[in-house]
Amino acid sequence: MLNQVLREIEAASGAVELGELKRRLGIDRGALEGMIQFWVRKGRLVDDQGAGVAAAHTGGSCGSSCAGYDGCAFIAKMPRTYSLPPEK
């Protein structure tokens, strides 16, 4: 089951929506989220939210009107994404 999730993601073309994956595999969203977190811990998926947070701590700001990436008022709420790590 766990490997099936990873295989589905690897075989997909472009973005796979979590709900679509849930329906395809016939499992609960909560269970699927747990499996994705397992793969994130194992390093087989990368939580891109982490990349955004990293940018927040190193990024600059647009002068007086902005508190940087993390506190920027102009940043729209982005959907959370998990990617396959780059091939080494």
């Binding site: 073309s13 940018a55 990024g59 990617s83």
Partner: protein, 578 residues
């Protein structure tokens, strides 16, 4: 009976079958555990064997200090190595996979779900909103409504703020300066023609931005914005670009600076640089006042559609350029897939919408009082310095240091239909911040304005007028709402008179373009859309992409903006438009 016995005595009957290979290794480890009573006394043998196969570090640490622990750890290492060699995966993954499989089987047998149970309301809405057929059209309609609301429905409040700043507010400033004995001095000119014209020229657009941020907050809080990202992601991927490219681009609609930092979510360097090069084509909030002003001047009946077209043109330019670059300079391997977690739909709360709208509008106002104020003062001084004779602050603005310096770029802009020092100066100062384009135009044209002769009013009459006109603007805004669906409740005659600034800009563009003002205005809007972003964004670009790509982007964008504006103006003239 010990606590351990109590805890585990009833669970012995239950166990997951991990498959032949794993069970053999569990049995082997249990054999070693059984030979060491101190370990057996502390841990259930099967549970411990599984933990060892999972490479549980806590357990490994605890075993090291127990008698026989080293032998057990040695066997555990052999067992995991054997399993990984036979099955071809990490032993902890093998164990977890079997557990999830067991749980899934258990749930399937125990829980019976109907189709309705499986599909939540969010799922049902998503079947339409994110469908391959309707996803893009729905996104475009949503965007169109946003800009209709922004440009058309906010217009009465825009006129109200303009009236307050150019009327009572300016009168109060003049009266205070008069009371201080500064009437008719350069200080009065600095305040009225510099600070109030410059900063006020931008603050006039606060209602426009409030409506934009209101619409965006509604889309974000309802959960639709995430769907838009998903739909556009899929389109980008289908066009050969990295799907995730659209996420930084969506950030770019607010501000280009964080959009550059958002490119870090792209793991491949080529994709990251390519996305970074495309991000500035997304119209940031600061460009909106320029579009609204020029759309109101040259396309008053289709202002909302024109603003929407600018945003769409930005996306199209980025997509076309992206495809071209992806197949040439940034040719690379196929993009890997990724999972996107869409939040469930929610009914936005008034408090949350107000918070988002005010947070963003507040940031815009803070910028007006800092960067735009400073730029307006500097520009006023440059306009006050005479070139070739004359006195400070009394010179004809056409013969000022600012006009002289700005007129250098005018010949380059002539083929685009706006080869004047005024337009050139606005574009140059727009390098500081895009809002400054409008404040500069307000300043350079304010100097030429003939002050309207007004009846003197008292402070309380002014306050009364502000309140009355606000109520009128609110009623007009309510009447404007049906404009979104094309119903015009306003009388033909009741159309607003263009302001003095709008008339001055129109005349300037008509003269510079030889009577093709609308074409020149459109070319100017497209130039502002495509040319170099503000200096802070360029600094962010240098940090993220490096100096080489920053220069490629700056020069490339200037060239592209010039070519597109040329195409629109000269092409339009050839076709007999405008």
């Amino acid at each position: 009976m010990t606590a351990h016995d109590l805890a585990y005595s009833h669970r012995e009957a239950f166990s997951i079958d991990y498959g032949r290979e794993v069970e053999e290794e569990i049995a082997r480890l249990q054999g070693v555990i059984a030979a060491h009573p101190p370990i057996v006394q502390q841990y259930p043998p099967r549970w411990l064997a599984i933990k060892l196969l999972e490479k549980d570090q806590d357990i490994q640490m605890r075993l090291k200090v127990l008698k026989g622990g080293a032998e057990l750890l040695d066997q555990a290492e052999k067992s995991t190595a054997h399993l990984e060699a036979v099955i071809g995966d990490d032993s902890d993954v093998i164990i977890a996979d079997h557990r999830y499989g067991f749980i899934n089987g258990l749930v399937r047998e125990a829980v019976k779900r109907t189709r309705e149970d499986r599909l939540t309301l969010s799922d049902k809405i998503d079947q339409v909103v994110t469908s391959r057929l309707l996803g893009i059209p729905i996104f475009l309609v949503a965007m169109w409504i946003v800009f209709k609301l922004t440009a058309d429905v906010s217009a009465p409040y825009l006129d109200w703020v303009d009236g307050v700043i150019s009327g009572p507010f300016t009168n109060w400033a003049v009266a205070i300066l008069g009371a201080l004995g500064l009437s008719g001095t350069w200080v009065e000119s600095l305040m009225v023609d510099g600070v109030i014209a410059g900063v006020g020229g931008v603050l006039v657009f606060v209602p426009v931005l409030m409506f934009l941020y209101l619409a965006l907050a509604l889309l974000e809080d309802s959960g639709y914005m995430a769907r838009a990202a998903f739909v556009m992601d899929r389109l980008m991927h289908a066009l050969g670009l990295h799907g995730k490219s659209f996420l930084p681009m969506l950030v770019g609609f607010g501000c280009t600076v964080p959009a550059f930092y958002a490119t870090r979510t792209l793991e491949n360097e080529k994709d990251r640089i390519l996305t970074g090069l495309l991000v500035p084509f997304m119209s940031c909030g600061a460009r909106l006042p320029v579009y609204v002003l020029f759309a109101a001047i040259f396309f008053p009946r289709n202002a909302g559609t024109m603003v929407f077209s600018m945003y769409l043109l930005g996306i199209l330019t980025a997509v076309v350029l992206g495809i071209m670059l992806k197949h040439t300079l940034f040719k690379g391997k196929e993009q890997s897939a990724f999972v996107m977690e869409l939040p469930p739909y929610r009914l936005p709360t008034l408090r949350s919408i107000w918070f988002h709208m005010w947070e963003r509008t507040g940031a815009f106002i803070r910028k007006a009082w800092t960067i735009i104020l400073a730029t307006s003062i500097i520009l006023w001084f440059l306009m006050a310095i005479p070139v070739g004779g004359g006195k400070f602050a009394e010179t004809d603005v056409d013969r000022s240091a600012f006009a002289t310096a700005s007129s250098i770029v005018a010949p380059v802009l002539s083929p685009l239909g706006f080869g004047t020092w005024e337009a050139g100066s606005a574009l140059i100062s727009g390098f500081v911040a895009k809002e400054v384009v409008v404040s500069t135009l307000a300043q350079v044209y304010a100097v030429d304005e003939v002050p309207e002769v007004q009846e003197p009013t008292t402070f309380f009459e002014d306050i009364g007028e502000i309140i009355t006109s606000f109520v009128g603007a609110t009623l007009d805004t309510v009447k404007s709402l049906p404009l979104i669906i094309g119903i015009d409740l306003f009388d033909e005659e009741a159309e607003d008179e263009p302001t003095q600034l709008m008339q001055s800009i129109q005349q300037g563009f008509e003269t510079a373009s030889g009577g093709h003002g609308a074409l020149a205005g459109l070319a100017f809007m497209v130039f502002v859309l495509l040319y170099t972003p503000c200096m802070v964004a360029i600094a962010a670009e240098k940090q993220e992409l490096g100096a080489k790509w920053m220069w490629v982007s700056v020069i490339g964008q200037l060239a592209l903006a010039w070519l597109m504006a040329l195409l629109i103006f000269q092409g339009g003239k050839l076709l007999g438009l405008g």
